[in-house]
Subunit: 366 residues, 2 copies
């Protein structure tokens, strides 16, 4: 058990941008929401999963819709109270703690705001260990858990509870209401017991975000290591390429950002080239035509000087970036996990091979 | 308190087609659903509003979406059980009785099926005394009541509860989910207490439907009156015109059926002409260019021989029809009522003048 305040939130937001693997939205707006809540209502208690009773009701909190719309509409002070009341009433039992559903991007921040406003603990865990674009892409799906009852509320005060026959129907119906409400709403989904949390959640991910953010913030403070060494060591990252953005191809289709970013080698990579394909999140990275990493491993682009992560939205011609791979949560590497979030699900015609094997014999490891 | 069985349902369906005032969908499919439920589960107890305790939870049941889709998808045996459980759980109190939200069209029948399946009484009342196209067009709106919490379920087993800031938002969000679920769903809305029911509902409307249906069925049995006299007397109807359908103009816009039917006079109306404009329901009737009736009074077309009502969907060139006006529920004639369902709401540029005044001095009254 420890406290999350302004300082911790700054680092978690920075780390969450890295764990977003290019997607999940820029945590900046979420950070403002979390900071506002903590300044107004006080620090948040972060619990380790082991500190949660087995029969406690634990509820992930997130936004659904477009982070860019969230930036315009904002979040009021009442949404999380509404969600708390809806879900507690549904189960006839008060929510014991909130948690993030995804550790990457804007949704890393909003549960902190919810916990601050309701004075409820936050659990140091999530359902992805990164960011993914669809509602069923959580470790809880592997545990056979249902996204519903899912509660949804907008900033105006409308609220909806969904109970659906499959998680795909939850996605379908909640998406329709999200659009009618203007494109961004607050939700709670995958309500679970403490026992389920302990079995299926990605543990300690908030703390990992914070450590990553701290490493990025202090990257130039190391006496005996280069900033790059310092960053890669802290992130347990695989250095895949270093280059200048030579082109960005984008296409918006079915509510997703599809695209490809092309890198021209610089420094030790001069004369070589690489590319990364993305659908919100980065999916596949290739160097000299050879795939070096695929989803569900995390493929991240960071600034070569500051090591601040660059989301797919912010890719710009001429920017110098380091291409880094991070190993995904172990359970994603099971057959069931690969079926849910492996490269073939996203239409990439390649088997999943763990990052560290893809890179074996390559030039740039940690 | 009395029982509704197969015989009563047949008559209620026939009367409901008249109270639909051209809209509400043909009660035929709904009648099959109600008959199926009563044959399987037994007769339904019909309660007068005065027999309902003031603190009882009373819930109107209806379908939302297109009656034509209902005819294809059907209704299973489980939807009403699901609605019962959702709403009872929400209020922490079991539903005491169901009721229809509208007496006209297909929605006159479905609450009978719900009552039969759940073995719950049906209240002899509704919220319109006829049919109207939009969710807020109920006498309960005049009582300041909210359509939400509204419960919705589809035949597949998905279910949703809405709590909204206005009845317009209920309409918006429920409509989006209805479309995602395939265009026809079962709903409960305007949950109320027995006391609210007694103050705002249109009383004895199920019984009125049944009497109207009975009158139509037995229209040729009268020894001393013509079938037409018999029908008009039973319906307390104002005979406005008799003619042959010369043209039907139709347009489908924003999910509604707009149109106009043109009548060429026959019999005592020979040489004259009339028309009726509709939006799902009939809105305005004119004879020789003079308006003789407008919403919220009921404008009905019935076959000149059988006196079976003709819905706007079934209007066909050459059909011989009697144009009949029925006085609407008294509270619709208040300023607030006219604002909700008067001619100007539907874009007809005329004040509301009660049917019986419009017809004064005309040729064809009861």
């Amino acid at each position: 058990m420890r406290k999350l305040g302004v300082h911790e939130i700054e680092d978690i937001a920075l780390g969450a941008a890295l764990l977003g693997a290019g997607g999940g939205g820029d945590p900046y707006v979420g950070k403002l929401v979390a900071l506002g809540a903590v300044k107004e209502c006080g620090e948040v208690t972060l619990l380790s999963p082991d500190e949660v009773p087995d029969d406690a009701l634990i509820v992930p909190i997130a936004m659904m819709g477009a982070p860019t719309v969230l930036a315009e509409k904002g979040i009021g002070g009442k949404e999380y109270r509404t969600l708390f009341e809806m879900v507690s009433r549904f189960f006839g039992k008060d929510i014991y703690a909130f948690m993030p559903i995804e550790a990457g991007g804007v949704n890393s921040m909003l549960p902190i705001a919810a916990s601050a406003r309701l004075n409820l603990p936050l659990v140091d865990a999530d359902g992805m260990g990164r960011a993914f674009p669809e509602l069923q892409m959580v470790t809880f799906t592997m545990g056979g858990m249902s996204a519903s009852p899912m509660a949804l509320t907008d900033e105006k005060g409308n609220s909806v509870i969904f109970e659906t026959i499959t998680n795909k129907w939850t996605e379908e119906l909640a998406r329709a209401v999200t659009m009618s409400c203007g494109g961004a709403v607050s939700v709670s989904l995958y309500p679970m017991t403490g026992a389920q949390l302990k079995e299926y959640a990605v543990r300690d991910i908030v703390t990992r975000s914070q450590r990553l953010g701290e490493a990025i913030r202090t990257v130039k403070n190391s006496a005996d290591k280069s900033p790059e060494e310092h960053f890669l060591e802290a992130a347990e990252g695989y250095k895949l390429f270093k280059g200048k953005i030579a082109d960005v191809l984008r296409e918006t289709r079915a509510g997703f950002n599809f695209g490809k970013v092309i890198l021209e080698g610089i420094g030790e990579c001069k004369g070589k080239n690489a590319y990364v394909e993305f659908q919100n999140e980065n999916l596949v990275a290739s160097v000299e035509g050879v795939i070096v990493a695929t989803t569900p491993d995390l493929i991240c682009l960071v600034d070569t000087e500051t090591f601040v992560p660059v989301t797919t939205d912010a890719l710009k011609y001429g920017k110098r970036v380091l291409l880094v791979g991070l190993r995904c949560f172990e359970k994603w590497r099971s057959e069931e996990g690969i079926e849910l979030v492996g490269p073939r699900y996203f239409g990439c015609d390649t088997d999943y091979i763990p990052l560290e094997e893809r890179c074996k014999g390559g030039l740039y490891h940690v």
